[in-house]
C-alpha cells in the first residue's frame, strides 16, 4: 500500500561500511507476505491491526447473531446450552480483546506518530511484536473450539465457576493464555506510545499543542501499563488454581473467589477507558474538522481525559455491588463512579459547543460522530444509574447491564471507530470512499442499533436474566424484535468491506487533505501525501 518513496527520492549511496541492514538492498525484492511480516512501519502495522480487528469483529458479530438465533424462542433448541455459553463467552472475549482494543491500537499506530510529527513509534520492533501477539492470541482463544469447547464462564471467568471442579477441559486454560498474549500486546503497545509521546514530538509540538487524539493516547497508554499486569496476575492465579492446586480463589482450600473479582476489575474497569478514551480522541479530531472550527475547550478536554484515567483506576468495585462486601467501601466506589460523569460531561458539552456556530458538513465521519455523541450518552447515563448501589443491586445480572454495555461499547467505541475509519480511509488508501454508501451505512447502523439495544433496558427492568440460553415466555416478542434488529445491524457492517473495495479501486484521488481542514483543526498527516510515504516526513513538520 505504501510506495517505496524513500528509495526513489533518495537513491542509496552506499559506502558507510555498515554491515547489511535488511532494508538497504533486499527490500524491493521481498515477497509481499514476508514484507508485511517483517515490517516495522507504524502505518503498515496500523493497517494490519485494523484488518485483524475487523476480521475478529466479523467473527464476534457472527457469534452475537448465533446468540440471537437461540434467543428467538424462549425455549429454543437451535443451540445446545453448552454451545450457547461458549458463544456468549467468546462473543465478549473476541469483541473486547480482539476487535475493539486492537482497533483503537490500530488507529493509534496509524495516526499518533503523524500527529506528533514523528517518523515512527519509539520502538518499531516492539510495536510489531505487539501486533503479532494479537493474531497469536486470537488463534489460542479460538483453537479451544476444536479441542473440546471454549470457556463457558463469560468473559469475566469468575471462580468458583471457572475452577477446574466446575469447568473441566481446556477451554478456560486456553482462554487464560489468550488473555496473556493479548495482554502482553497491550502492555508493549502502551509502553511504545508513552515513549513516543514523551520523546518524539517534533519541534514546537508541546504537550499543550499536541492533538487531543495524542492526549487520549497518553492517558490510555498509562492505563495499559499500570492495569494490564494485574489482569495477567489474576488469570495466572486462576490457571494455577485449576492446574497445580494452589489456593488463590478456591474457598475449599482457604482462598477467596472475591479476590479474583477485585483483581479482574482492577484491570477490566480501566479497560473500558482503554476502549473509549482513544475513541474520544478520534471524535475530538473529527468534530472540529467537519465544523471548520477550532475545538472548543482544548485544555478541559485534554485534562478531563487525565481525570477519567485517574478516577477510572479507583472505581473497580462498582462491578461488585452485589457481592455483599462492606457497604462503606462500596459507598466510596459509588461516589467516585458518579464523579466520572463530570469529566465525561465536559467532553460532551465541548464537542457540542464546537459544532455550535461552526460550518458543519454532514459527511459520513461527522455523522458517525454525531451518532456517537447522541447514543454513547445513553450508555453513559445508564452507567450513572448503575453507579448507584440501590439501583445496581436490582439490575445486576439482568439484561439492563447488557443494554448498558452495548450502548457504551457499540454505540460508543464501535461507532466512534467507524467514524475514524471513514475519516482516515482516504489517508490509508489514497482514494475516497463512496459518500452515499457511507450515509446508508450510517442510517442503517443507527436505526438498527437502537432497535436492537434499547429494548434490552425494558427486558432488564422486567427481570430477564442475562447470559442464559432460556427465558420466561413473556419476553419472547421483545427478544424476537431484538433478534431481527441485530441481524440488520450485523449485515449492515458488511458495507465496510464494500467501502474498502470502493476506496482501493474506484474512489477519486484523495490528495493530501480531502477534508479541507481549517488550519486550526489540521494535524500533520493532512500535509503529506495519501498514503503517506515510508517514514512520513522528509522535512520536520511545522508546529501550528
Amino acid at each position: 500500500m505504501y510506495s517505496d518513496h524513500v528509495q526513489t527520492t533518495h537513491p542509496v549511496a552506499d559506502g558507510h561500511g555498515h554491515g547489511e541492514p535488511e532494508g538497504g538492498h533486499g527490500h524491493a525484492k521481498r515477497h509481499p507476505v514476508l514484507d508485511w511480516m517483517m515490517t516495522t512501519d507504524h502505518k503498515k502495522i496500523g493497517v494490519m491491526y485494523l484488518w485483524t480487528s475487523f476480521i475478529f469483529f466479523l467473527i464476534g458479530g457472527a457469534m452475537a447473531l448465533m446468540i440471537r438465533v437461540q434467543l428467538m424462542q424462549h425455549n429454543n433448541t437451535a443451540l445446545t446450552p453448552d454451545f450457547y455459553n461458549q458463544m456468549m463467552t467468546m462473543h465478549a472475549t473476541v469483541m473486547i480483546f480482539l476487535a475493539i482494543i486492537p482497533a483503537v491500537t490500530g488507529f493509534g499506530n496509524l495516526a499518533l506518530p503523524l500527529h506528533l510529527g514523528a517518523r515512527d513509534v519509539a520502538f518499531p520492533r516492539l510495536n510489531a511484536l505487539g501486533f503479532w501477539l494479537v493474531p497469536a492470541g486470537g488463534l489460542v482463544f479460538l483453537s479451544s473450539f476444536l479441542l473440546g469447547g471454549a470457556s463457558q464462564n463469560g468473559w469475566t471467568a469468575y471462580p468458583p465457576l471457572a475452577n477446574s471442579a466446575y469447568s473441566p477441559g481446556i477451554g478456560v486454560d486456553l482462554w487464560v493464555f489468550g488473555v496473556h498474549l493479548v495482554g502482553t500486546s497491550s502492555i508493549t503497545g502502551g509502553l511504545n506510545f508513552i515513549v513516543t509521546i514523551f520523546n518524539m514530538r517534533a519541534p514546537g509540538v508541546t504537550f499543550h499543542k499536541m492533538s487531543l487524539f495524542a492526549w487520549a493516547w497518553l492517558v490510555t497508554s498509562w492505563l495499559q501499563v499500570i492495569a494490564t499486569p494485574v489482569l495477567a496476575g489474576a488469570v495466572t492465579m486462576l490457571l494455577l488454581d485449576r492446574n497445580i492446586g494452589t489456593s488463590f480463589f478456591r474457598a475449599e482450600a482457604g482462598g477467596d473467589p472475591i479476590l479474583f473479582q477485585h483483581l479482574f476489575w482492577f484491570y477490566s474497569h480501566p479497560a473500558v477507558y482503554i476502549m473509549i478514551l482513544p475513541v474520544f480522541g478520534i471524535v475530538s479530531q473529527i468534530i472540529p474538522a467537519f465544523s471548520q472550527k477550532k475545538i472548543f475547550g482544548y485544555l478541559p478536554i485534554a485534562y478531563s481525559s487525565v481525570a477519567i484515567g485517574l478516577f477510572g483506576l479507583v472505581v473497580w468495585a462498582h462491578h461488585m455491588f452485589a457481592t455483599g462486601i462492606n457497604p462503606w467501601v462500596l459507598t466510596f466506589f459509588m461516589i467516585v463512579t458518579l464523579a466520572i460523569a463530570v469529566p465525561t460531561g465536559v467532553k460532551i458539552f465541548s464537542w457540542i459547543a464546537t459544532m455550535w456556530g461552526g460550518v458543519v458538513e454532514f459527511k459520513t465521519p461527522m455523522l458517525f460522530c454525531i451518532g456517537f455523541i447522541a447514543f454513547f450518552t445513553i450508555g453513559g447515563l445508564s452507567g450513572i444509574m448503575q453507579g448507584s448501589i440501590p439501583f445496581d443491586i436490582q439490575v445486576s445480572g439482568t439484561y439492563f447491564i447488557v443494554a448498558h454495555i452495548h450502548y457504551v461499547l457499540f454505540a460508543g467505541s464501535a461507532v466512534g471507530l467507524i467514524a475514524g475509519f471513514y475519516y482516515w480511509l482516504p489517508k490509508m488508501t489514497g482514494r475516497m470512499y463512496h459518500e452515499g454508501l457511507g450515509q446508508l451505512h450510517f442510517w442503517l447502523t443507527m436505526i438498527s442499533m437502537n432497535l436492537a439495544f434499547f429494548p434490552m433496558h425494558f427486558l432488564g427492568l422486567q427481570g430477564m436474566p442475562r447470559r442464559v440460553a432460556y427465558y420466561a415466555p413473556q419476553f419472547e416478542t421483545i427478544n424476537q424484535f431484538i433478534g431481527y434488529s441485530a441481524m440488520v445491524m450485523g449485515f449492515a457492517q458488511l458495507l465496510i468491506i464494500a467501502q474498502i473495495i470502493y476506496s482501493l479501486k474506484f474512489g477519486e484521488k484523495a490528495g493530501n487533505d480531502p477534508w479541507n481542514h481549517h488550519p486550526d483543526t489540521k494535524t500533520f498527516e493532512w500535509d503529506i501525501p495519501s498514503p503517506p510515504p515510508a517514514y512520513n516526513f522528509e522535512k520536520l513538520p511545522v508546529a501550528r
Binding site: H16, T40, L129, W132, G169, I194, G204, G245, G254, Y535
Partner: protein, 311 residues
Amino acid sequence: MTDHSHHSHASPVPAGTDVAALDPHVLEHEIASIFPSITGFSTGLMLFGIGATWNEFTWGPAAIVLGLSILICAMVGWWWELVRDNRLEENSLIGTPDDARKGLRIGFGFFIGSEVMFFAAFFAYYFYARAMAPVWPPEGFAKLPWDIALVNTALLVVSGFFYMRGEHHIEHGTPQRSMKHMVLALILGFVFLAVQAQEWMHLIHEGFTVQSGPMGTAFYLLTGFHGFHVIIGAIFITVVTARIALAHFTPQKHFAMTAAGWYWHFVDVVWIGLVVCVYLYDYVRDYFVGPAKAAWLMIEPLLASASQILS
C-alpha cells in the same frame, strides 16, 4: 555520527529542516525484522502447548518444545539485531543516539513499572490471605526459616553492589575491572538461585508444598516468580558481560548495562519486600517494644481492616 544536532522537541533545530541533512542514514535504512512476528507466534504455540499438556493431549509437550525452541532462537536473533543496530547507531529513525537512549530510559522505566504491578497482584493476594486467616502462620504451619532468607538477602544486596561497581568502572574507562565485578555479581545471583532451590527442596521434603493452603500458595508463587525474574536478570547480565568483553561499551554509551542494572536492583527490591513481609514479619512483630509496639498497635488494625473490608 557524533556531531549531529538533536532534532527532538528539546532541540534548537528549526521546523522545516530537511531530515536527511540531520542524519544521512535516516532515509537509507528501513528497520525491518522477522523476529517480532516469529516471537509472537512461537509464544502463542508454547502457551498453547502448556494448555494442551495440562489437559492431557499427547502432543502437548511437543508443542511446548517446538514453541520454546523457536522462541529462544527468535529472542537471540532479536537481541543480536538490537546490539548490531545500536552499535552502528542506525536506529536514527528516532533522532540522535541521545534521543534514542532517552527513549530507552523512559521505556525501560515503564517496563519495570509494569513488572511492579504484576508483583503487586501477588502481594495483594498475600495480604488478603493473611487478613482472611484467623491466625498466621495458619494452624499446623511453622514460621518460614529466617536465617536462609537473610543469607539470600545478603547475596542479592552484595551482588547489586558488585553490579554498581561494574557500572562505575565502565563509566571510568576500566572495562577489565568492570568485567570482574560483573562476573562476581552474576555468580552471587546463581548462588542465590541455588540456595533458594535448596530451601524449596527442603520445605517440599517436609511436606510444605504449593498445595499447603494460602501460606504455601503465597510462598511458592511469590518466591517462584521472583526466582524467575532473577533468572531473566542473570541472562541479561550474562549478555551485558559478554558485551563488555567485546568492548561494546564506552564511558558515555552503555545503556544496556544501565538497564540490566535497573532490572537487577528491581529484583533486589522485590526480594527485600518479600523477605520483610513473608519471612521476617512473623518473627519481628512479637518483639516490638516501646514506641515501636505502640506504633504497631495502631498500624496493624489499619492494615488488617484495609484487607478485610475488601473481602
